[in-house]
Each structure stands twice: as C-alpha cells, then as structure tokens.
Symmetry: C2
Subunit: 214 residues, 2 copies
C-alpha cells in the first residue's frame, strides 16, 4: 500500500497532483452541460461533478470549479436560470471531450454536436445524448475555501430510452450506453454486478431481479 500525507501535495507537479486527486475519489457520472446566454449564444461543457440531491422535490447539483473554461456555464446559468444535462456515449465521446477546449464559438458548432430544444426550457439539449435532464436554477452556494460553486437545479423534465426503465423505477443507464469517468481524462464502460435488496438488520442483502417495463 502506498501512503501519501497531505504535506507532500504542494511539492507535486501541478498536472500530476490534479490527476492523482481527481482520481482518488473514484468514478463519476459524465454529462455535457448545455446552456445559453441572453444573446442566444449556446455553450456546451463536460462535467463529472454531478450529484443527486433529492427526489421529492427532484433536485440535482452541479459543482462548477473556479478559473476554468467552464465558467461560461455558470455565467449562462446565472443569466437565464436554466441548464441541461446530457449523458455521454461512446459514439460521440471524442466530440464530448473536445468541448473542454477553449473555443471562441459555440461548442455545438465547433465539435459537431447537434442542439435540440424542448418546449420546456430555453437551454439546448444534445441530440446525440439519449438521457437528458432539464433543470431550473434553485440556489447556489460558494465554498469559502476555494470559491467552487455548487449549483442546485430543480428537475423540469427527463428523457431516456424506452427500453431502459424497470418496473420499480430503476433506469438501466448501462443499457442506455452511458459512460462513467475517472479523473480528468479517463472514460469507462460499466458491467452490472448486482442490484441488492433494501438493507435490513435481520437478513443479508439478496440479489434483486426485476421486470423491464415494456
């Protein structure tokens, strides 16, 4: 086992430290965040710090780090109060990763991804994505320690492939083809191991087998 104390972090080369500390907290969800400003300029950026905040009311959080190219995302959300989350699949992974470069024009155009609009929100969705979430800004929190911003959004609508919903509400994101990410630049398929029963003290968890909604 390798053991590194925090005193060693400051002396590490910047990119090395960023890789190590981005990886250590494990696999993350991977989304393209779609926004638009008041001048109708669209923006698209990859985010891996997306979290489930609540189901009733339905809330999702997005962590926006300071001093990165993704600040357009935060500025646009603060201007228009809406944003979209779009899953990333293998067939447009290169284009998705490429949206993180510093582009002058919209990443949709520069990276050949297709904007799609619902009637519910002004923010653009990614047509290539097959799981999409539309959100409306609820609140933001700025961390004192490094000015990272937690954006909390209320879910306005969700879209997903018909063959992925199970009878108990479970969504098979693996079947949808959603990737997971690790660190700054690593992308992974997943392979289902088990769904386990609701944990109770009087018995060991058991495997769940559930029906697909036709």
């Amino acid at each position: 086992m390798q053991h590194i104390l925090s005193e060693a972090f400051p002396a590490m080369e910047q990119r090395y430290r960023a890789n190590l500390l981005n990886c250590i907290s494990g696999f993350k969800s991977l989304h393209l965040v779609g926004t638009i400003n008041l001048n109708k300029q669209t923006n698209l950026a990859p985010f891996s710090q997306v979290m489930h905040i609540g189901a009733d009311p339905a809330l999702i959080g997005l962590l926006v780090r300071p001093h990165t190219v993704s600040r357009h995302t935060l500025e646009n959300i603060l201007e228009t109060s809406v944003f979209t989350l779009n899953n990333v699949r293998e067939d447009f992974l290169l284009q998705s990763h490429h949206t993180s470069a510093r582009w002058d024009e919209s990443e949709f155009k520069e990276c050949r991804l297709t904007p799609w609009y619902s009637t519910r929100l002004t923010a653009p969705y990614v047509a290539e994505a097959n799981v999409r979430i539309g959100l409306k800004l609820v609140e933001t929190h700025t961390l004192k320690t490094n000015k990272t911003v937690l954006v909390v959004g209320a879910v306005q609508e969700i879209m997903f492939p018909r063959n992925c919903l199970m009878a108990d509400g479970y969504l098979d994101m693996e079947k949808a083809g959603s990737l997971t990410s690790l660190g700054l630049d690593s992308y992974h398929h997943t392979q289902a191991l088990a769904r386990l029963s609701y944990a109770k003290p009087d018995r060991l968890p058991s495997l769940l087998q559930l029906d697909l909604v036709e």
Copy 2:
C-alpha cells in the same frame, strides 16, 4: 424516447420516484464513510454522493441527505471534525451494502468489517478497502430547498495499492477493484475505454498511453 415532465413526479409511488431520480443523473463513486463520536463509538455508512472539489488545496465533498439513517455520519463529523472515505470492492460488497440498515451497534461489528486506524486521524478506516482517504472538516453548507448538507473536507492523507499509480499521477481505480454505483442499489464493475489527451481547439483528442510507476 420516453419523456416525463416534472408534474408527473408527485403522483409517483415514493420508492419508484426515488429509483428513477437517483438513476437519471448517472453512475457515482461508491464509498464507505467511517466516523467516530466523542464516546469512541464508530459508524460506517455507504455514500455515493462524493465529489472532487479541488486539488490545491486538496478538497473532497460529501453530500449528506436529511432524514436518513446516515445522519450519524454528519453528527459524528460535526463532533470530531474527521471522517474517512473507503472504496468498495466486490469481495465485501454485501457487507458494505448491509451497513445501510438501521443498526444499534457499530456497523463495523454488525457487518463484519475491520476498523483500521492511522496515526493521522481518530476516524476509523475500513481495512478491507484498498483506497482510503482521510479528511478533516473545512466547512458545511445546508441547502435551503431540502436541508441536504454539503460537507467539505480537506484531504489529510491517501492510501492506494502500489501497482495502480501511473507516471503522470493517474490512479487506475479499475485495477484497484473499485466499483461504481447507480441509483440506490445497483453496483457495477468498469471497463476502461480510453484516456484522451488534453483538449485543444487545433486538433482532435487522441488516445493517451502512459507508463505505470513501478
């Protein structure tokens, strides 16, 4: 494509809605959070809302939902200011999932997981985990909308298997055997697809091939 508007959420059966909305935001990291109170009672609980907040200084966030059995985690962190994150692997997945039940005594004892202590922190680590992070409380933010608490911790130390570190600081969590989770009860292995080069406007991202640190 199935399209659900937010107006449909309140009428959904509670567990169905929880499954759907926990899944829709995608794969998450999976950790056992180890804490201890001032009476030396240990606690262990599974968390999937863990996020990278920064590398310099090294910060990790943990989202603690209100009104769940995991409130002991938050109470202990506020009491002692320290907590640990421990990765979950297939060989102790059942025990890890079982820690989410309502136990009277410490989940370490009830679920047959082994506490391990470093000299750095009073909070317990999980000996079965091979990726471990020790953290000290920096700040908390309580969301107005549903009282969820974002706990921000400063990384005090990290531990991981020797054969997982690449020359550029990338940690191969797949080789470490870390699982990823989806929704409330689904666990997945991962399969590496690609590491992609730092994105620049003048070229398409390319595959990275990097050396392992011996």
